[in-house]
């Protein structure tokens, strides 16, 4: 039986009650208050404040941590007490007012930071916005720093993130759609795209996949990613995760879709190609040939990080004759007293390095530096002097690590380094033949991979020569007249002869 045709699961008691059936409210405030209190199982942070307006007993009910004291006082309590009237809709200055007779709606409103105003003698419930929208200050994302360019980064508050996006794209065509996911958490997920530019099939597909999510909780965008990606067993990340508004903006204006999530500064971009992981917003801030050189260096770093240790292992264990005569003596003399075969040597070093990285990443900065020194310098020197690992291997592993950190995307950097391990095993058992087979398998996988209907390895497979100019190199912006084809945007052109002033000048 296919998963999509299954009936939705019945909600468990601990999950958020579905508001499908309504629950008529009572006529007395006391009954309503009792119901709300029971609905929250007498939680202590549900607060009730009694107000008497024109001798009618009213109760303001709210979840204390979620509501802003300021808003509650200024927009609800103060106007009501000053005017002393029951014409709630006209007096309250909250930016959103809903009137309902459904207590379920009141309950779900309370969990989202609304205050519920109960009036004695009427079934009407006034659900008033009083949400506390504090978030941390906007800072530059630590893992995606640039030298030149915007230093703004997304925060944990989804509204503020959307604000940053809206500020960058002041266009009524920018559409934001909200979704709720997580039966126990009811997490807000938003997708953003430009209507009339984005491929409608793509939007429909993303919506379909997000709507299919049935889980207790969505903690991080990583959950969403794993629920909606095409190939969950592929080693390559298939959605670009970024904390940079400028990066997201650039992708959305190329016709892609961004996914936001409440509580996480990371946003997801889809569909992306392999080369998107090797682009940085900085490329467009520096002169175009500098950007080109930087991109080429990153592509080199991909090859190094993937294959350098394996090439070395294959060379010293099978094909030492390919080394130049002068070099072979250097390498051989450093290997001479090492008791392990090259594979074990490489594994020792790689695992030490991964341990150091994992240990240093979560420590406060001063201690992380100490670990770096102890690990990098002390272990590095001592391990060579103890003849456990050769000098050459240290150089190779260090170069591999540096290359993998040169990738602008953290996930990609990790997946490439991990892919290096099976390649090392292959080249230690079969030499270059094994290495070539391993690389071919990776290449075949890359060519076959599709994300949201887009070939992942485009523009290399399928090969599109004209698109190489914004993937492998970066030509000046005015030469990039067209958007990438693989996004299937509704409009191909994105630039119309911006340098025509030059032509006019000559006449």
């Amino acid at each position: 039986m296919r998963r999509g045709t299954r009936k939705p699961y019945r909600n468990k008691p601990y999950q958020i009650p579905t508001s499908a059936e309504s629950y008529q409210s009572f006529f007395t405030v006391e009954e309503n208050k009792q119901y709300l209190s029971d609905a929250f199982y007498q939680t202590d942070d549900l607060k009730f404040r009694e107000v008497v307006l024109k001798d009618v007993k009213c109760i303001i009910c709210y979840l204390d941590p979620l509501t802003s004291e300021d808003k509650l006082q200024k927009t609800i309590i103060k106007p009501l007490l000053e005017r002393n009237e029951l014409n709630i809709e006209k007096i309250v200055t909250s930016k959103e007012i809903r009137i309902s007779t459904n207590l379920h709606e009141a309950v779900s409103g309370l969990t989202k930071g609304f205050a519920v105003f109960l009036v004695d003698g009427t079934q009407h419930l006034y659900i008033l916005e009083a949400f506390a929208g504090e978030s941390r200050a906007v800072t530059e994302p630590v893992n995606e720093q640039v030298v030149r360019g915007s230093h703004e980064g997304f925060v944990e508050n989804i509204m503020q993130n959307l604000q940053m996006l809206r500020r960058r794209i002041e266009n009524p065509n920018l559409v934001v759609k909200f979704f709720k996911a997580g039966k126990a958490t009811d997490t807000k997920i938003a997708i953003a795209y430009i209507q009339n530019l984005v491929n409608p099939d793509l939007v429909a597909e993303v919506e379909r996949r997000i709507n299919a999510i049935e889980a207790d909780s969505i903690q991080t965008p990583g959950y969403v990613e794993e629920f909606i990606e095409d190939e969950p067993f592929s080693p390559f990340p298939q959605m670009l995760s970024t904390e940079r508004p400028d990066r997201l903006t650039a992708h959305i204006t190329e016709g892609r879709i961004g996914v936001f999530m409440e509580g996480s500064p990371s946003t997801l971009i889809m569909p992306v190609t392999f080369f998107a992981f090797y682009q940085s917003p900085e490329d467009y801030n520096s002169r175009w040939y500098i950007g080109t050189v930087l991109r080429l260096i990153r592509i080199t770093s991909f090859i190094f990080a993937l294959a350098l240790p394996s090439v070395y292992i294959a060379t010293v264990s099978f094909h030492s004759e390919i080394l130049p005569a002068e070099l072979i003596l250097n390498i051989k003399s450093s290997l001479e007293n090492v008791p392990f075969p090259p594979l074990i040597e490489a594994l020792i070093m790689q695992i030490t390095l991964e341990l150091l990285r994992e240990a240093a990443i979560r420590l406060p900065n001063p201690i992380a530096q100490t670990i770096g020194i102890v690990g990098g310098l002390v272990i590095g020197t001592a391990i060579v002097e103890a003849n456990l690992v050769s000098n050459m291997m240290i150089i190779i592993v260090a170069l591999t690590a540096i290359s993998s950190f040169a990738v602008p995307s953290y996930e990609m950097s990790m997946s490439i380094r991990l892919l290096g391990f099976p390649l090392m095993l292959l080249s230690a058992t079969f030499g270059f033949i094994g290495l070539v087979f391993g690389l071919s398998m990776i290449l075949i996988h890359l060519c076959g991979l599709e994300t949201f209907g887009t070939p992942y390895f485009s523009p290399l497979a399928p090969f599109r020569f004209s698109e190489l100019k914004d993937s492998i190199i970066r030509v000046p912006r005015w030469l990039l007249g067209k958007r990438p084809i693989d996004v299937h945007a509704q409009e191909q052109r994105q630039e119309w002869f911006s340098r025509r002033w030059k032509r006019n000048e000559d006449e």
Binding site: T315, V316, S317, F318, S320, E321, L323, A325, I328, L329, N330, I331, K332, S333, S334, L335, E336, N337, V338, P341, P342, V384, N391, T429, G431
Partner: protein, 377 residues
């Protein structure tokens, strides 16, 4: 279902790990042969000498490289190689051989006898330099080191230096194989001799080969240079020193001029009658700068032309002597046979060429032009 998957995984793992032989050759466990030499011993036996590089202490920890020279006698090079394995610890790897020296006596035999082992193994070094030694190769290798340089590096650099100065052709193992099978083209290997005075090996010209054997004739370095120029093989640094007529009026010890060849062009004219090659004229044109001429100022253009004409005459005489030597040795270094095969195919007969080459008329004409005189006149 799960059992089936487990079976598949087992089969895949077995085929990956159990099939084929593991031909791992750890660099760590190999002994690198850096130079090899062959000499003729009595009773049709050959003596093979290997220079093996020792690496006791890593260089990073203050160790130095040293050589171990091992020499054995046997009927073939493979047999001596096997004997060598019994004398040398670890696995012998000749894939990084830099230099192959052939003793004079052994070179006069068919050299394929020694080199066959190299041509069959795909791992053998095709870019190793190959040279002929006056006397025995073993004696050169036994010198161990010249100054601070180990003997193999020293001799290899000696040959490479000669190649840079257009005194030797770049002869590698691969090229020797190619030329030795070519009917219309012969070759020459660098000739190394031991200089008593400097107590070091010395590059001493070219040893002329015919097909697979050394003809016994050598050309001194200065003649080798002219021969290579006639073969259009000049490198960027070619200097020719020539004696001019001694002028009794100047007080210099000798009367010489040195020119540095900037540009050279060679044309071969074939005169063929009745499908028989009668005469080959080699027109060599050299354009050069004066590198050394202490005798006189060169203010006048006519002075330059005089020197150029004088040089042309002398070089023509020398070139013709060289061609005579080539013919006597039956060494078709200039590849006349191959040209004939390609451009005048009717006049070409592979069987006849063996004798025909000695009898054709070879004539050289050298013309020298002088462009510059350096920064002084």
């Amino acid at each position: 279902m799960n059992l089936k998957i487990a079976h598949y995984i087992l089969v895949i793992c077995c085929t990956l790990t159990l099939t084929s032989c593991w031909d791992q050759e750890l660099l760590k466990n190999s002994k690198i042969v850096y130079g090899a030499g062959f000499d003729y011993e009595s009773n049709n036996m050959i003596r093979t000498t290997f220079v093996v590089r020792n690496l006791g202490v890593p260089v990073s920890q203050g160790g130095v490289y040293s050589n171990r020279v091992v020499s054995v006698v046997g009927p073939s090079s493979r047999e001596t190689r096997l004997q060598m394995d019994r004398l040398i610890s670890k696995q012998l790897s000749a894939s990084k051989n830099q230099l192959l020296l052939l003793g004079e006596e052994v070179a006069k035999q068919n050299i394929d006898h020694m080199l066959d082992i190299l041509f069959r193994d795909p791992k053998s070094p095709l870019d190793a330099r190959i040279a002929v030694v006056e006397g025995r190769a073993l004696d050169i290798f036994n010198l161990d080191h010249i100054g601070d340089t180990l003997i193999v590096e020293f001799t290899t650099d000696l040959i490479k230096g000669a190649e840079n100065k257009t005194e030797a052709t770049k002869m590698t193992v691969e090229k020797a194989f190619r030329y030795s099978l070519d009917e219309g083209q012969d070759y020459a290997l660098p000739y190394i001799s031991y200089n008593e005075e400097a107590s070091s090996p010395e590059f001493n010209g070219l040893a002329l080969f015919h097909e697979t054997t050394y003809t016994g004739t050598t050309l001194p370095p200065s003649d080798a240079k002219l021969l290579l120029l006639m073969n259009n093989e000049s490198s960027n640094k070619t200097s020719i020193v020539e004696f001019l007529d001694n002028d009794p009026n100047n007080e210099f010890l000798t009367n010489t001029v040195t020119i540095n060849v900037r540009n050279d062009s060679v044309e071969k004219d074939y005169s063929i009658k009745n499908n028989l090659l009668e005469k080959v004229t080699i027109n060599l044109e050299l354009r050069g700068n004066i590198e050394e001429y202490p005798q006189n100022n060169l203010k006048e253009k006519s002075q330059l032309t005089d020197i150029a004409d004088d040089l042309s005459k002398r070089l023509t005489v020398r070139a013709n002597e060289i061609l005579n030597k080539l013919q006597e040795a039956n060494c078709d270094f200039l590849g006349i046979g191959r040209d004939l095969n390609a451009y005048h195919h009717k006049a070409w007969n592979a069987k006849r060429w063996e004798k025909e080459y000695k009898e054709i008329k070879l004539e050289a004409k050298v013309k020298v032009d002088i462009d510059e005189t350096g920064i002084i006149k």
